[in-house]
């Protein structure tokens, strides 16, 4: 006879083994890519796991495409989008959460449409608009469709609604206007949500590809993702180890940030996920 304690123990072992198996399978592509990036392509193709480590792939990748420029573009892009999103979404979310006005519910429903129809789908029309504005092949053109984010407005509105009105009333008694109330009461109390939204936004826009691919066509304005795809598609003379090195290089700031702040990162996504 097997006691229930023993079955519980066996179940735990199976559970743990399955979890680890899945974890290793999940990490395998990344581990393999990391291994390949530090070895010559000849050794990578032979799967020679004893081969010596080399940094030459990174040096070659860095030298054969303007990655420094791509990094700068992506950094500027991501920062600009984040600042604009914080400002626009905070103002709108505050009005939607706390100011009763005619047409509020209808307007908010219209805002939520963007949760389903993201600008990614509307490439053709958005290209037309950007062209009309004369902004084709500029960094602002990449950012513009994403500056007002329904997700950000929704997330901040939900947060602002949970803040007790007593706090606001106290500030009002002291003669604060709406801007002071927003700045001194609401924004500080929503700090964790700003962090969560910020991380989601940065990683999303760091990784965005299709719209920047369409709207830019010069090295000066190309972000990392587009630069990387251009680099990888020039397959004459560029071998896989070098492409992998470039790939890891382009993902490294996010990966590094993620490994360092893993707990906050996952917690932030959870927070953004609960909404």
């Amino acid at each position: 006879m097997i006691s229930s304690q023993q079955t519980g123990f066996i179940a735990r072992i199976i559970n743990t083994a399955a979890a680890w198996l899945l974890g290793l399978v999940w990490l395998l592509p990344l581990l393999f890519a990391a291994w390949a990036a530090f070895h010559t392509s000849a050794n990578t193709a032979k799967l020679d796991f004893m081969a010596p480590i080399t940094l030459s792939n990174f040096a070659t990748a860095w030298a054969s495409a303007p990655f420094a420029r791509y990094f700068l573009n992506t950094a500027l892009l991501v920062t600009g989008i984040l600042i604009a999103q914080f400002i626009l979404c905070t103002l709108a979310a505050f009005a939607f959460a706390r100011l009763p006005f005619r047409g509020r519910e209808a307007l908010f429903s219209l805002v939520l449409i963007q949760l389903i129809v993201a600008p990614d789908i509307l490439l053709v029309e958005n290209y037309r608009t950007i062209k009309w504005l004369g902004l084709v092949d500029t960094l602002p053109a990449i950012a513009l469709p994403y500056l007002a984010s329904a997700f950000g407005i929704f997330l901040l509105r939900q947060t602002f609604k949970t803040i007790p009105t007593e706090l606001e009333d106290a500030a009002r008694v002291e003669g604060c206007g709406w801007f002071n109330i927003l700045w001194r009461v609401y924004v500080p109390l929503a700090k964790p949500v700003y962090l969560a939204y910020g991380l989601v936004s940065v990683s999303w826009h760091w990784n965005n590809f299709l719209w920047p691919l369409i709207i830019t066509n010069s090295v000066e304005n190309r972000p990392l993702t587009v630069g990387l795809s251009v680099f990888a598609s020039l397959d004459q003379g560029i071998d896989w180890s070098i492409i992998t090195a470039a790939t890891l290089l382009s993902s490294s700031p996010l990966l590094l940030g993620f490994f360092l702040f893993q707990r906050q990162f996952v917690q932030s996504f959870i927070r953004a996920g609960i909404r």
Binding site: N15, T16, A19, W20, L22, G23, L24, W26, P29, L30, F32, L47, L88, L91, A92, A95, L99, P100, F101, L110, V111, I116, V117, P119, I121, L122, L123, V124, E125, R128, T129, L144, P145, L147, A148, I153, Q158, K161, N207, F209, L210, I214, T225, L228, S229, A232, W240, T244, T247, S250, S251, L254, F259, Q262, F265, V266, F269, I270, R271, G273
Partner: protein, 292 residues
């Protein structure tokens, strides 16, 4: 309710910048897509004119459109259930006190923070003929050689697999959030009654996770029509359009052939698909889940 005029003015000023930008890049383009789908593409010396349903007619006559639609449905039906099932398994694994929990959470979630383009670059090598990792392993076992991305039978499967790998960890996070909301007393009570682990999962945990599952399903479905970056790098829609999906086709028509009339018609199809998903969400959910 009485609205104070001054509050209304302040509120409209506050929402105006966001609403104007949203309108400019979401709502107006939605209407614009529908309108332009009834007009021919502007060519040199041949201005755009009203052509009724001509764009739709030629779209429906285009075998690649149907191919893209069917591929996209296969891609959605292949990736959505698998990423949801894996996400749930991952969340259940790391929600328990398990050896190496932090490491496992990291392992599952890491693909989420990488650009899809980077992910595609990494996976290409796995599928490469001759010296790709999968080929090396199958050579070792003396299995016949197979060009995974170059064959019309397997290319769509490979592309779907990569999407699952990239997204499961992201959806895991939503399940983790939901699992943390389930009171432990429920499970404790069931355990005292002698319920097995499977009974607890199937009769308590899973039903309680249902709203989360629906939420993830809707998001995964939307992503299946929106997240196609890796197809650009891995297959370019090929071989023989085996991995062409709707958004990829839209890119080709709009920005390789510059046929904006056709592209608008295809945009309307994509909008209709998203509209149906939204309708499904509306019917499946209590409205309160969204608005409160």
């Amino acid at each position: 309710m009485n609205y104070k005029p001054q509050t209304t003015i302040t509120a409209w000023l506050l929402v105006m910048p966001a609403v104007a930008l949203l309108g400019m890049f979401t709502h107006v383009p939605m209407i614009g897509s529908v309108l332009h789908s009834f007009y021919s593409t502007e060519r040199p010396r041949r201005p755009s004119r009203f052509v009724g349903l001509d764009n739709y007619d030629s779209m429906l006559d285009d075998p690649i459109f149907w191919k893209a639609l069917i591929n996209n449905l296969i891609y959605a039906l292949g990736s959505v259930p698998f990423s949801i099932a894996l996400a749930l398994a991952m969340a259940l694994f790391v929600n328990e006190r398990i050896t190496g929990r932090g490491f496992l959470r990291l392992a599952y979630f890491t693909p989420t923070v990488m650009p899809m383009i980077a992910v595609a670059n990494i996976w290409i090598f796995f599928f490469t003929p001759d010296y790709g990792l999968i080929e090396q392993v199958s050579q070792f076992f003396h299995l016949p050689a197979h060009n995974w991305l170059g064959s019309t039978n397997t290319a769509l499967f490979c592309v779907t697999l990569v999407a699952v790998w990239k997204e499961a960890g992201f959806f895991m996070v939503f399940y983790l959030a939901a699992l943390q909301q389930i009171p432990n007393d429920l499970k404790e009570a069931a355990r005292l009654e002698g319920a097995s682990g499977w009974a607890i999962f199937s009769q308590i945990t899973f039903p309680l996770l249902m709203p989360t599952t629906l939420f993830i399903m809707i998001n995964a479905l939307i992503n299946a029509f929106r997240v196609v970056d890796h197809i650009f790098v891995m297959t370019g829609g090929g071989p023989n359009n085996a991995t062409t999906v709707l958004l990829f086709r839209l890119y080709e028509i709009g920005f390789k052939y510059f046929d904006h009339g056709q592209a608008s018609a295809l945009s309307v199809v994509l909008l209709a698909v998203l509209g149906m998903i939204a309708l499904g969400q509306f019917l499946l959910f209590d409205r309160k889940v969204h608005y409160q």
